[in-house]
Symmetry: C2
Subunit: 208 residues, 2 copies
Amino acid sequence: MILTTEEKILEAAKKVFHQKGYDGARMQEIADEAGINKALVHYYYRNKDNLFQAVFEDAFTRLLFKVNEIFYSTGSILQKTESFLGYYMDFLQKNSFLPMFILNSLYNRPDQLKVILGKLALTPHNLLALIKQQLKEEYNLDIDPMHVYINLLSMVIFPIVARPLIQQIFRLSQKEMELFFEERKKEVPLFIISALKGYSNETIRTNE
Amino acid sequence: MILTTEEKILEAAKKVFHQKGYDGARMQEIADEAGINKALVHYYYRNKDNLFQAVFEDAFTRLLFKVNEIFYSTGSILQKTESFLGYYMDFLQKNSFLPMFILNSLYNRPDQLKVILGKLALTPHNLLALIKQQLKEEYNLDIDPMHVYINLLSMVIFPIVARPLIQQIFRLSQKEMELFFEERKKEVPLFIISALKGYSNETIRTNE
DNA sequence: GTCTATATGCAGATAGAC
DNA sequence: GTCTATCTGCATATAGAC
């Protein structure tokens, strides 16, 4: 697969921005990574902000697209949770800098998000309504789906983001860390489904 | 309360580094924030790296100290979870830049952590052993406590870190966001305890 | 389109007066 | 200890030849 110069620059920029963030990235390093001259980067993207914008939008849409793709598919809560864990965690492990890059960019450059949110037509409330309906049908739960949804995202994304911290504190080898993530693909769905069942029992007990 | 110049610098440095990270922080801004001259910052801390090191160590120990404080205290899993949620989430909301600062610093400056880990005597395995024992006694669960522990941390810390993202995507006002966090202080312990009870049922069913 | 050379500004750090 | 003035290097960005 052959890349145009513009594509080479974007790929190089992704690599550098993802790892170092806006402030830590250097135009020179991006040029080197792309195997071209620094002036060419400016020729195609005019300035650092523009290039960053392109990288951020790519990252954001890719990350968000995968989430929606799974939750809007057919299947039970259990099935969705399991495929989310398997599919999304693989994706995040292969792109381990992505979530940190997104989150950190929102702290340093909050306006960046507004630009892209204006372009996308997000309907998160449809998604929540769908989950709420499934919780009712499958677990007879009449609860706010927001917390359950955020809990799931937390348990998937946080360990990826905090990986360096976890690994150092618990003194895990690379191999042990990978095993830990592999286990989570089964443990987290089990945890969530257990909680949902537990909720039901709790509710029933309260109603007696 | 009157501060020495050195303390004023450190306080100013915390403010700036926490929000902008190492690369985004400017010595000039720190000096301005402290209300003194830029040369004085160098007089006390010699260079940017030293100052950052001081800020990072302060943040890291404060963040970690709070975690241990709660989990090594007496009380049931439920009690610990509840006080962790109440106590720690309040702390994080008041210091909302801290977790992002720590996590991001580990990406950009991984060696930073090793320096401080050498100074602290962390014994996370004792903590896990304690949790494991309590899971056995209180829920008759014979499982690896690591996943449960990371799940709890995830559900507490991630929403704080991802707050700007959540708020924008779900279009929540400041007030709604605060309410959401307030709800989580009850929702997350309920979720976890439900899961632990559900686990037991699952185990019993499997053993029959 | 792609390069070399360069302009411009700013950040970290130091010298030296008080 | 605290300041003003300044050095040095580097990062973004542009000019202009090919």
